[in-house]
């Protein structure tokens, strides 16, 4: 009796674990939402697959939404609410990023949440916006969304790589710091043993009146102005922080909005 119960339980577990991905896939909202019908069915399918691949790879939702209007809301508010109200976001932090393209006012908006805020700082979001504007201006929405998916993939990979601990480097820095400290400390210990040294000056014998200055001239001679360009970063990761705000649902979001 017990044996048959155990077999039944194991079978149940096996079936549920087998079905789980399909159930959750069905429950999870689409990552491509084309309310303006600007993408073909094939484009939507390919883009959905691409976004899902990148989303699964980094365990956060990467969503694109195109619509006609934000319904009177500010684009940022609309993007935040859409993200919150439609069940986007993975893990406890609702990790993800949503790109909203709204045609009425030609708005391009990004909303980030959880890990998305950490991965995509303000500079990176600005870079994404600048990257997509030429596509959107030319009404190449598929091109814009594909570029968005590719940039998310490239950027997150680069960001995570930069965050990986570099133990070899830390060991080298540690050894160098240790060598410098040991040498300086050792030199101090050696100095304790040496007390016989020549006196190069006669400061101990200066009369109490000290120095009587007769000339004290400080004359401006010339000035030089050097001009250097402030380098705009062309590296794979853009520095800086992420500015955040709180959406109507109470969640913290990052993001920015512009026009194309």
């Amino acid at each position: 009796m017990i044996r048959s119960l155990l077999i039944a339980f194991a079978a149940l577990l096996l079936i549920s674990s087998f079905l789980a991905p399909f159930v959750s896939a069905d429950d999870h909202p689409a990552l491509v939402v084309d309310e303006s019908d600007k993408l073909t069915g094939e484009q939507e399918r390919v883009l959905e697959a691409k976004l899902k691949e990148v989303s699964d790879k980094y365990d956060l939702d990467i969503v694109v939404l195109i619509n006609d209007s934000t319904g009177g809301k500010l684009p940022t508010e609309f993007a935040d609410d859409y993200y919150d109200e439609n069940g986007y976001g993975r893990n406890a932090g609702y990790d993800g990023i949503l790109l909203l393209v709204s045609l009425e006012n030609r708005d391009i908006t990004t909303s980030t949440c959880g890990k998305g805020i950490e991965y995509f700082n303000d500079s990176e979001l600005q870079y994404i916006e600048e990257l997509l504007v030429p596509y959107l201006s030319g009404e190449d929405y598929y091109g814009a969304f594909t570029a968005f998916a590719n940039e998310c993939d490239r950027h997150i990979e680069s960001y995570l790589e930069s965050q990986k601990p570099k133990y070899g480097l830390y060991a080298v820095i540690g050894i160098v710091a240790g060598l410098i400290f040991a040498a300086v400390k050792g030199s101090g210990y050696k100095k304790e043993l040496v007390s016989v040294y020549s006196k190069g000056d006669a400061d101990d014998y200066i009369a109490p009146a000290g120095l009587a200055l007769s000339v004290k001239d400080d004359i401006f001679a010339f000035s030089n102005v050097a001009k250097t360009i402030i380098s705009s970063s062309s590296s794979s990761s853009r520095g800086g922080g992420s500015s955040t705000h709180v959406s109507s649902s109470g969640r913290t979001h990052g993001g920015r909005s512009g026009h194309f």
């Binding site: 965050q163 601990p165 570099k166 133990y167 830390y170 060991a171 820095i173 540690g174 050894i175 710091a177 240790g178 060598l179 400290f181 040991a182 040498a183 400390k185 050792g186 210990y189 050696k190 304790e192 043993l193 040496v194 007390s195 016989v196 040294y197 020549s198 006196k199 190069g200 000056d201 006669a202 400061d203 101990d204 014998y205 200066i206 009369a207 009146a209 000290g210 120095l211 009587a212 200055l213 007769s214 000339v215 004290k216 001239d217 400080d218 004359i219 401006f220 001679a221 010339f222 000035s223 030089n224 102005v225 050097a226 001009k227 250097t228 360009i229 402030i230 705009s232």
Partner: protein
């Protein structure tokens, strides 16, 4: 002609020595105390005696080779009749047989008579104590050095010094800069203003010392500077009783270069210290004119301590007035590398660990 003087108690005739603790001459037998001036008044006749009143033998009368005899003088101790061998420069010493302190008046009169003497403030016991203190808190000193180091000799010596009062007129020029930065658009601007700065002034030095004894290592003597000249006394040979003393054998002219070098450096440094408010100061030219009269001749108190360890000799010196103690010590190389590796591992480990922890957060 040289002559030998022992300072005798005016009351009992016992031998007097200078007690640095009470700054008076003390009779070793009856305990009577005399200031140098009192003794001089009581024993004035001692100074009036002719050299013939004392037994003295010239070097040619004893069996020294000509080479050995050069610069060596012998004296007969007035107390025990023992023969005291001294160098040509010896001005005060003690009899090796009876220990009585004696002063060679001939090396302290005429041109050789010092103008000042700075009496010992610290005695032999304090010098020994300072030697022990000198070994403390030295991480690389061999552990057994302190216990096995043998004190071979300790002697209080009045070292002859030339003391120069120097008047300096110095002028210096400097190139100084200040920078300010600001950003405008995509550019950062840095303005560097350059100034030509000139300073000139007069400064006086009182008693820059130069040791006038060839026997004394100049660097060792400079290391125990400075002395407080406010305690100078007019020279009286009675202060030398119980100590060693030498007459100078380095002419004052030979010390002038070193004195000038020290005064010039201090004068230029003093001008440099008046230049402030700049991000960078680069010295350009300096001119220093020095004027000084004949240097004063004085005797300054020094305790010399000779020790030996592992077949090596170590020399220490203590300022007999201030107690400043110097002397280079041997290094324990094994301990040096032990500390080196220990510090490397501790600091290297902490830095590498902290970096790993911070970057993995």
């Amino acid at each position: 002609m040289d002559e030998l003087i022992e300072y005798k108690c005016a009351k009992c005739g016992g031998t007097l020595i200078f007690d640095s603790n009470i700054q008076k001459l003390r009779c070793e037998f009856c305990g009577s105390l005399f200031t140098a001036e009192e003794l001089k008044a009581l024993q004035n006749e001692l100074y009036e005696k002719t050299p013939e009143d004392y037994k003295r033998t010239e070097t040619e009368n004893i069996f020294w080779s000509e080479q050995e005899a050069q610069g060596i003088f012998s004296y007969i101790c007035e107390s025990c009749g023992g023969e005291i061998i001294g160098e040509e420069t010896t001005a005060a010493t003690s009899c090796p047989f009876c220990g009585n302190p004696v002063v060679m008046k001939g090396n302290l009169s005429g041109e050789l008579r010092p103008q000042f003497v700075l009496p010992f403030k610290l005695d032999k016991a304090e010098a020994k104590k300072a030697l022990k203190e000198h070994f403390k808190n030295k991480k690389l000193l061999p552990k057994v050095f302190s216990s096995e180091n043998h004190l071979d000799e300790i002697k209080g010596v009045y070292v002859p010094y030339w003391l120069y009062d120097v008047d300096s007129d110095a002028s210096s020029t400097f190139k100084c800069t200040n920078s300010t930065s600001w950003t405008s658009g995509d550019y950062r601007y840095t303005e560097t203003k350059t100034y030509n700065v000139a300073r000139a002034g007069n400064m006086q030095f009182i008693g820059i010392p130069a040791d006038g004894s060839k026997k004394m290592d100049d660097t060792l003597m400079e290391s125990i500077e400075p002395y407080d000249y406010s305690a100078f006394e007019k020279f009286n040979a009675a202060y030398l009783a119980g100590f060693l003393a030498d007459k100078y054998d380095v002419p004052k002219e030979d010390c002038a270069e070193r004195i000038e070098s020290r005064a010039k450096r201090s004068a230029v440094d003093a001008l440099r210290r008046t230049v402030s408010g700049y991000a960078s100061v680069t010295p350009q030219d300096s001119t220093v004119n020095l004027k000084y009269d004949e240097p004063k001749y004085g005797l300054l108190p020094v305790w010399l301590l000779h020790t030996s360890w592992n077949g090596e000799h170590y020399l220490f010196a203590m300022n007999g007035q201030t107690g400043k103690f110097v002397g280079d010590l041997p290094i324990d190389k094994k301990r040096y590398w032990m500390y080196f590796v220990r510090n490397l591992l501790i600091v290297g480990g902490i830095v590498a660990g902290a970096l790993s922890l911070i970057m993995s957060l």
